[in-house]
Symmetry: C2
Subunit: 329 residues, 2 copies
DNA sequence: TTGAAAGCGCTAACAT
DNA sequence: ATGTTAGCGCTTTCAA
């Protein structure tokens, strides 16, 4: 693979490989300017590229951090990665992306693979809230920070959106418009603490206003036809749909358009928008934007601290979301 | 890091580490079922995780492939990664994502980092079309496949969308609606062959129909206000805007809405849509969808072949795009 | 069918 | 300011 080794550089520069190693690791303190320049020239000349596998073997630092997301094609993950990448790039670290597939088994395989690669740390959007499935990760002794979803008990530091607060704001805005019935469209709420919090926030506001709330759980965003029954059940009461993530929000709008149900005239719509298109939709959508890139930066900073050996509070850090009320309500 | 090594497993199982290594690499051909079972039990018992850095050092296979995209937060990249990830997962490979930042220097640093990590191969969406800046990659001898953009000369196999064909279809659809002036909104066309092809396809159709075409190049999708002057210059001629990528398409629609310019009544709009929201926009947009997930699969398959030592045609493979004509024209 | 031993490219004492 | 040396955890001949 690598054409030249540290030995080749050492020979060509007429120094020992220890000196070259010092050069590579930026320990110039007690190195003559002459050898420093010489080594630099030789490296450029040969096009030498150091082998991190070898250095990781010795130094226990791979300069790689693992990121396990639920679904790489989700735009939320995209911005998350962007945020993480901005932080790690300045640290010369690379990010190893693994797709957990929202599936505990696939996720476990992915995490073990990352451990095998000796990542310096892991950022994890866990597929399930039960901490017992992650004990092996804790035992591995690798720095871990959770993102977007909590574990019970927490086990690791965690960065999320302020879901309860944003959910409440959105719910209040919806109820002010006079809806008499609420339909929450979500993936199974007991599989992710955050979904549950969003649902709970909505439910709390509805209860306060004495408005009925129905939970419609779907496994797959491709089929939200269950909305039909939920709307029928509401009879003459005017309904608003609350989608707990961007995929479902998009799916709901698509379905409403196909069914030729006017929004917000016949049915209201609001939800979480990670895709930044809510403003451009027809009609413009009332949404919460979570600012996932910021979340990514925050989580990466915490991980870097852990890797540097600093203490990090094992608790939840909330990044404030933005709530945009628009015509869909 | 890893708590146990192959030595610990060997001792606990009462065999040599060579035997454990054979087990780990699935070479069971001439291994007694007893030892095989014994090793399996010990590994499970200890929770042993192999160290890929060490194995990579010896075997020259890191089971990592590098992916360099122009911008990780672009939805195109997202689906690309999804497609790649589906292929690599079945091969037990991990993907190292690097953000090239659409900047040759940052990209070069990213690629060198990937080489240092001894990736088995690289998938690259190059920031610039000039092959000379990538000679060092060619020299490194690592398998490389290009995606989305070509190099001149090509140097590596490449997978893209069929841009000329889809651009022509979109252009023809636009001109059939009777527009008298075309504005192409693009990032600098000479920095990416594919953008240039899209522009050229449009230009060719316009030339055939004797319709004037104006190229508006922007550096940053956050500022598309140059559209104002372009529209003014058209005077009374009815204009259609063609955005050469999803970000600009979104930016254009946002700008038109802010300026309260009715689409398609006053100005037509069409372009490339990697975000899958064209259908839901107001108005629904006439777009080309490139199918980036398919592109990701194709490019990953080619890379895996190269890694496996097979020959791959150093030429362009085109994945057909879908053209959707909708109300925005 | 299994083991012994050399070595992959690098780092980090310890010398000098 | 620089060199010597002993590994890091694994794979892979070669031998048994």
């Amino acid at each position: 693979m690598a054409k030249y080794t540290i030995n080749d550089v050492a020979k060509a520069a007429g120094v020992s490989k220890a000196t070259v190693s010092r050069y590579l690791n930026g320990r110039f303190e007690r190195m003559s300017l002459a050898t420093r320049r010489k080594i630099k020239a030789v490296i450029a000349d040969l096009g030498y590229v150091p082998n991190y596998n070898a250095s990781a073997l010795k130094s226990k630092r791979s300069h790689q951090i693992g990121v396990v997301v639920g679904d790489v094609s989700n735009v939320y993950s995209t911005f998350l990665i962007k945020g993480i990448s901005g932080v790690t790039r300045t640290r010369q670290d690379q990010i190893l992306i693994a797709d957990g597939g929202e599936d505990p088994q696939q996720e476990t395989v992915a995490i073990k693979n990352l451990l095998s690669q000796n990542v310096d740390g892991i950022i994890l959007q866990p597929a399930r809230p039960d901490a017992s499935g992650y004990q092996f990760l804790k035992d591995a002794g690798v720095p871990v920070v959770l993102v977007d979803r909590l574990l019970r008990p927490l086990l690791f530091p965690c960065v999320t959106s302020n879901d309860t607060a944003s959910g409440k704001l959105l719910a209040q805005a919806a109820l002010e418009k006079g809806y008499q019935n609420v339909i929450v469209l979500s993936h199974p709420v007991d599989q992710a603490t955050v979904r549950y919090e969003r649902y709970r926030a909505f439910a709390a506001v509805c209860r306060g206003a004495n408005i009925p709330i129905n939970l419609l759980e779907v496994e797959d965003a491709d089929d939200v036809s269950g909305l039909r029954a939920a709307l029928d059940a509401a009879q003459s009461m005017k309904s608003v749909i609350f989608a707990t993530n961007g995929i479902l929000l998009m799916a709901a709008l698509r379905w409403l358009q196909q069914q030729q149900i006017a929004v917000p005239k016949q049915v209201g719509l609001c939800g979480y928008d990670d895709w930044n298109w809510g403003e451009l939709a027809n009609p413009p959508l009332a949404v919460v934007n979570q600012n996932p890139e910021k979340i990514g930066r925050e989580v990466a900073l915490r991980l870097e601290q852990l890797i540097a050996g600093k203490e990090v509070f094992v608790g939840r850090t909330e990044v404030p979301a933005e709530v945009h009320i628009r015509e869909s309500l």
